[in-house]
């Protein structure tokens, strides 16, 4: 404009819009938004983009799916094994859209693969958040939003898996029916409420359809918007490194860098999902046939994210756990694996940020991420949860393990029964030890530098190996972390010898806090660096020795954005 340029069409349109909505302010704000660069920050993006693929392919499927349990006779010629069979309209329309509708099978398969990837990426994304401590203040609320979305994603997956009304999904629903019925007092009523009568009834498919295409995706879209809004509002976390503090964000502006990267990533994700849908068969419902409550085929399992519940059910011993109390049956063999186990998992998931803040006595805002090694207990707990989840999931595949590795199915079940208790404890212990070891290694590196492999002999015959000191970036990474100590609590009595109320509860929290932070390796202090660098005569020959009193933060490579935090 300065050069007396006439505005082109786009410019005019933008100006038109801006004069009426002042949208330019928003665009300016977003375009200059700074995001830090790391591949692990794109895991959530995979979830977001596979959700978009899910919506798009799901929209296509609703054009052809008939959510009805009315009995019909299959008229199509393909596949020959379905010809003339009696089935529900839901199943019939699923088979028909796969064989008669152009691109229907591709869309179905893309939709199902995208669903598996959606949940996978959510879980992987959550573990990234967990292990790096990104759930800490101020992001606890966003963690909760994410956890709710995980549950919604599982619900979306399960309702979708049940819609085709094939033998496999019908068996899944039958298990759900059993679990619902095992709930004390209200179980039977609840089951009749859910299924509109005795299982399977005629209502469940239309009900699941409404949940699957309307309620759950609607909630998910709303929560995704909230999730992203909070992410923008609170600014993105960043990995520790030179120039990165809790008061800035080091990275690149959204426009053009991240918009380009995100667009590219979307096309990659949509491409990979389409490729999978086009080349790998998934959930061929006509293999299982239309649902009827009598057959159950070998290798009947739910999709991967429900495997852990199925596995817990398979691990739970049957006899002796069904108690009849005053004429009422209490099925602990269903209640424990199907409700208590997921209950523990989700309680931990929802409660963790608050539990950790409490035992750490931490009320500060955190924007720089933890390296997992610097929080040995948290990292250990995360690994324990992963191991428990994997062991339970493996238990659900015991029949496949048995046939593919020529093992005895009972031996597998018993091994996993032991492992489900021992495995997580062992994983916790190993992980914690590895973390502490890595921290000690960091200390050693900061104090003595890298081994150079150069051996020097002094005139008096003494041999030493020359160590190369770390550069500033390397040192910053290894010393700039917090290492919390166990909580200190007020004594039992005050100065006048009066017993303090709340002491007992404090004491319990302190015990838990000790469990978290008793084993700790404190970060190297400047004084320690100083002492280490001047303890021997051989120091004279060390090349390029840095002995700043304090490791200075080198300036970051990118633009420093974000400015002071709101809280400051």
């Amino acid at each position: 404009m300065a050069k007396q340029q006439r505005p082109n069409g786009v410019g005019k349109a933008a100006d038109y819009l801006d004069q009426r909505t002042s949208i330019g302010v928003l665009v300016k704000e977003f375009a200059r938004k700074v995001f830090p660069d790391h591949w692990s920050f794109m895991l959530g993006e995979i979830a977001l983009f596979s959700f978009i693929v899910l919506i798009a392919s799901g929209f296509f499927l609703t054009m052809f799916f008939e959510p009805s349990m009315a009995l019909v006779r299959y008229e199509g010629e393909h596949p020959p094994s379905m010809e003339g069979q009696l089935m529900s309209a839901a199943f019939s329309s699923t088979v028909e859209m796969s064989f008669e509708v152009r691109g229907g099978l591709l869309m179905r398969q893309v939709h199902h693969w995208a669903a598996l990837i959606f949940v996978f990426s959510i879980v992987v994304h959550m573990f990234r958040i967990f292990f790096t401590g990104a759930f800490r203040k101020p992001r606890e609320v966003n963690w909760l939003v994410g956890a709710v979305m995980l549950i919604l994603a599982l619900a979306a997956g399960f309702t979708g898996y049940s819609l085709p009304d094939d033998v496999l999904s019908g068996n899944g629903l039958r298990i759900i029916d059993g679990v619902v019925k095992s709930i004390p007092v209200i179980g039977s009523w609840l089951s009749i409420l859910v299924f509109g009568g005795e299982f399977p009834g005629h209502h469940i498919i239309p009900r699941l359809f409404t949940l699957h295409i309307f309620v759950i995706p609607g909630l998910l879209i709303a929560l995704i918007a909230l999730h992203l809004f909070l992410m923008v509002l609170q600014k993105h976390t960043q990995y520790p490194g030179g120039g990165r503090t809790d008061k800035n964000v080091v990275g690149y502006p959204a426009l053009p860098v991240y918009v380009a990267k995100m667009t590219g990533n979307f096309f990659i994700i949509a491409g990979v999902l389409t490729l999978m849908g086009g080349t790998m068969a998934i959930n061929n419902v006509w293999n299982y046939g239309p649902y009827d409550p009598s057959p159950v085929s070998a290798g009947t399992q739910p999709d991967w994210y429900i495997l852990f519940v199925d596995g817990a059910l398979r691990l739970m011993p049957g006899p002796g756990w069904e108690w009849v109390i005053g004429g009422y049956t209490l099925s602990m063999n269903l209640l424990i694996p199907a409700l208590v186990v997921p209950g523990i998992l989700f309680t931990l998931l929802f409660g963790w940020p608050f539990l950790e803040a409490k035992v750490t006595g931490d009320h500060k805002e955190h924007h720089v991420l933890d390296r997992p090694r610097n929080r040995p207990t948290r990292t250990g707990m995360g690994m324990a949860i992963i191991v428990a989840f994997v062991v339970c999931s493996l238990a659900a595949t015991n029949d496949l393990i048995a046939t593919h590795f020529s093992l005895d199915i009972f031996a597998i079940t018993w091994t996993l029964r032991v492992l489900v208790f021992v495995g997580p404890v062992f994983a916790f212990w190993v992980t914690k030890r590895v973390c502490l070891g890595l921290q000690r290694k960091d200390r050693e590196l900061v104090l003595h530098g890298h081994e150079s492999g150069r051996i020097v002999r002094f005139a008096n015959g003494e041999y030493i190996e020359v160590h190369t000191p770390l550069d500033e970036e390397e040192r910053w990474l290894r010393v700039s972390y917090e290492s919390p100590e166990p909580l200190e609590i007020q004594p039992l009595t005050d100065g006048r010898g009066v017993r303090r109320p709340g002491y007992r509860s404090d004491r319990r929290w302190q015990k838990l806090s000790r469990f978290f932070y008793e084993d700790r390796v404190s970060p190297v202090t400047p004084a320690e660096v100083e002492a280490a660098h001047s303890h021997g005569r051989h120091d004279e020959i060390e090349p390029g020795r840095h002995d700043e009193a304090e490791p200075k933060a080198p300036t970051g490579a990118g633009a420093v954005g974000g400015g002071p935090r709101h809280s400051d």
Binding site: W39, M42, L43, W113, L116, S294, P295, S297, W304, T403
Partner: protein, 295 residues
Amino acid sequence: MTPWRPRLGACVGVVLRWYRFMTEKLKHSQRDEDIFVKALAARRHHRLAPVVLLLLALLTTGGVYAALAPSTAQAETVSTADIETGKKLFQANCATCHGSNAEGTDGVPSLVGVGAAAVDFQVSTGRMPMQMNGLQAMEKPRQMNEEQTAALAAYVASLGAGPAIPTDEQVDASLGDPSNGMALFRTNCAMCHNAVGAGGALSEGKFAPPLWDTSERNLYQAMLTGPQSMPVFNDANINPEEKRDIISFLVEQRDGSAGGASLGALGPVSEGLWAFVVGMGLLIGAAVWIGAKSS
């Protein structure tokens, strides 16, 4: 245009007349029978007469059954020479466990009455002669050729009547109805062999094998004779046409299913594994690549 009423009346008349005639005749015959029974009772004096009668009845039933029972004769012409060869082969390869006259030993079944179908199944799939004792005889390259197998089958069949080797027509998949076959397979077979015959686990390390490489004849024989842990599906349970339908369904599964690579047709577990390895592998790889492309 309404000749309906008179015709109906005529019909009713005929039926009524016929009914009256028949009831008369029946009353008459009953009376006759009463007289006959009384006469017989009057003449009967020996107390062993019922025993003789019973023996006669048994002999008649047995004779009629022997004449009318489904033939268990071998489809091919079985010569005495075949049976002799079979006996020699049996004594050289099988008698150690099954006894010199196939009467069975401790924990090893007798082969009298198992029929040619059982022998053909076990020997042509290499399960017998067994390599080693185990939970289950394993399939392996066959040890006996076609002729030797036929001779063994002839010998065992000569020991006692049992199911015969099915004819080619009985196992011709193209004559079967895969849709009916699938319905039957789903109710009778899928709980062990998986929905499309990929195989599955049984207790204590035993397993139901995959069925895609099994020949049509062997499939039929397995249903008929119930080898190892498998139950017998005799002709009253699943008739020969239905067996052929099942074979037809299984033969159709050999080509895999629509939609691309079948991933072992094992259901959600293998799908989850592939989603993680291929899908998440590619996507995380792409994320690392995009992340590395810094500026």
